[in-house]
Amino acid sequence: MSDMRTVFASVASSLLDEDPLAAVVLAEISADLFAKAAARHPDRVLNVGIREQLMVSVSGGLSLAGLRPIVHTYAPFLVERAFEQVKLDLGHQGARAVLVSIGASYDAARAGRTHHAPEDVALVDTVPGFAVQVPGHPGEVPGLLRQAVGMLDSGSTYLRLSTESNRSALPLWPGLQVVRPGRQAVVVAVGPMLSPVLDAVSDLDVTVAYTTTVRPFDGEGLRALASSSASGAVVLVEPYLAGTSAYAASEALAGRSAFRLLSLGVGRTELRRYGTPAYHSALHGLDAAGIRRSVTDFLGLT
C-alpha cells in the first residue's frame, strides 16, 4: 500500500478531474506528485514556489472566487509559518480550504525541530469553524479527503497526514468508534495511535475507541462511553501535543458526577534529538510500552 502522501496526491488529482471547481495550491513540496494533474489543469494546480504565506492567501482568494482549494505542504510551514494567513485569509474572511499537511509531529525525526509540528492541531483549533481529521492509515485518506472537499461549502478542514500508520484501516466514521469493549476505563486512540494503544492494553479490561475526527470532538460519544466505565476513567492518546483535546473531553464529561482524565501525547520539552520516529515516540511515552506504563499507573494497576 502507498503511503498517505501518495494516496492523497492520487485522490486529489482525481478530484481535479471530476470537479471543475477543485484546485490544488502547493509551495514546491510534492509538486512532482502533481505534475500530471498540473499538465491537465494548469489553471487549477498552482505551485507558488517556496512561499507558504502566499500559498495560504492564494487559497483564500480562490475560495472567494468560488473554487474549492486544497493546500498542501509540510505541517510546520502550512500551519505555523503561515498562521496569520490561516487565521485571517481563511477564517476571518469566511473563505474555506482543505489544508493537508505531511510530517506530523516528528515523521522527519532526522530533520530536527524545524520540520516537527506537534503543536499544529492545537493551533488550528484556535480558528473557528475548522474540522480536524487525523487518519490512522493510508486507506482512510481517500474517504477523509473526499469528505473534506465535499464539506467546503460549510467549512474548512485540516487533514493531518503521517508516515506513521496503524496495521489496518477502519471504515470512515464521524466520531468515536469502539474497537474493543472493556469495563475499567475508556481509552481513546486518535489516528495512528490505535495500533500502539491496542498493543499497550491487550491484557487490560478497558474499552478502546478510535477516531480520526478530532474537531468537531465527539463529546456525546465520549459521554456515552464514559458512562459505561465503572471508574469514570478516560485516557486520551493523541499523536500531537499532549492535552490538545483535554478541554473538549472535559467539557463533554463536565455533567458527570465523577470522571478522571489522562491526556497522553507529545511532550512540551524540546528534546534536541534526531533518530527515528519510533525513537521519538519512545521518548514521549507514546510507544506501546510507554502508553501501558501511563495507563496502568493511572488506573492503579501497578
Binding site: 471547481l21 484546485a23 495550491v25 489553471d43 487549477r44 498552482l46 507558488v48 514556489g49 512561499r51 504565506q53 502566499l54 492567501s57 492564494v58 487559497s59 483564500g60 482568494g61 480562490l62 475560495s63 472567494l64 472566487a65 468560488g66 473554487l67 482549494p69 496569520e84 494567513q85 485571517l88 485569509d89 476571518h92 474572511q93 469566511g94
Partner: protein, 233 residues
C-alpha cells in the same frame, strides 16, 4: 447618488471633523475614480461572479472607503454616523462579512495583494464572462508603507511570473514608509518582477481613470502619488 464634492460631508458624519478636504485622506480620489469610472460593479450586482473586485488591503482609516460606498449606494448613509460603535457594521477596519460591497476584511497589512493573486487566478480558472463582456478584474489598493510587509514580496514576484493579466495594484504613495523604496520608487520593485508600471498623480482624476482602466498583458501597477503623509500606514 452623491457627487465627489459631497464626500467630505459624508466623512464628517463618521469623524465629526468639520475640515475634511480631499487631502485629509490619501485614498479618497483613487477610491472615487475606481467606483465612479473604473469598476464594473454595482449595488445590484454584488453577487454577480463576473463583477470586478476591489480589495482595500490598506484597511486603516476606512472613512473615505465607507463614504464612497455610501455615495454609490452600496451602504445606507444612515450607517455612517455609527462608525466604530458597538452596533455598527462599519469598524475601523472593514469586514466583508458585515459590509455589502466590501470584498475582503482587512486591517493586518500585507494580506490584500496575496488574496488578490488567488482571486485573480480563481476568476481565470472559472472563465467567467464579466459584466459588459470584459473578463472580471481584481484591483488591490495598498499603501507604500504597507509594502514593507514581506508577504507582498511573495505575491509581487509570483504574480509577475504567473503573468496574471486581470490583476491591478494601485499603490497610494504618501511616502510614509520609514526606509522608502530608493531612487526607482515602488515601481522599480514591481517592474523587475515583470509588472507593467505607471505613476500618476493620486489627485488627478483625469490621469487616474485611464491608468487604472488600461488593459494589460500581465499584472499592472499604478502608483498614485499624493502629498507626503504622517507616518501612519
Amino acid at each position: 447618488m452623491r457627487t465627489y464634492a459631497e464626500l467630505p460631508g459624508l466623512m464628517t458624519l463618521m469623524t465629526g471633523d468639520e475640515k475634511h478636504g480631499p487631502s485629509a485622506t490619501s485614498t479618497l480620489d483613487v477610491l472615487w475614480v475606481l467606483y465612479d469610472q473604473v469598476l464594473r460593479v454595482s449595488p445590484g450586482r454584488l453577487d454577480d461572479p463576473g463583477r470586478d473586485r476591489f480589495l482595500l488591503s490598506k484597511g486603516h482609516g476606512p472613512a473615505a472607503y465607507y463614504a464612497v460606498l455610501a455615495a454609490k449606494g452600496f451602504i445606507p448613509e444612515s450607517w455612517l454616523a455609527g462608525f466604530g460603535s458597538a452596533g455598527s457594521r462599519l469598524g475601523y477596519h472593514p469586514d466583508r462579512n458585515l459590509v455589502p460591497g466590501v470584498e475582503i476584511a482587512s486591517g493586518s497589512l500585507g494580506h490584500g495583494l496575496p488574496l488578490g493573486v488567488g482571486l485573480a487566478h480563481g476568476l481565470i480558472a472559472r472563465g467567467l464572462p464579466g459584466l459588459d463582456d470584459r473578463a472580471p478584474r481584481v484591483f488591490v489598493l495598498v499603501g507604500d508603507a504597507e509594502l514593507d510587509e514581506g508577504s507582498n514580496n511573495e505575491a509581487i514576484v509570483y504574480a509577475g511570473a504567473a503573468g496574471l493579466p486581470n490583476l491591478v495594484v494601485v499603490a497610494v504613495d504618501n511616502q510614509s514608509s520609514s526606509y522608502g523604496w530608493g531612487p526607482g520608487g515602488i515601481e522599480a520593485h514591481f517592474a523587475v518582477s515583470g509588472w507593467s508600471v505607471t505613476r500618476v498623480s493620486g489627485r488627478d482624476h483625469a490621469a487616474l481613470a485611464p491608468a487604472l482602466d488600461a488593459p494589460g498583458q500581465g499584472p499592472r501597477l499604478v502608483v498614485a502619488a499624493v502629498e507626503k503623509g504622517v507616518s501612519v500606514p
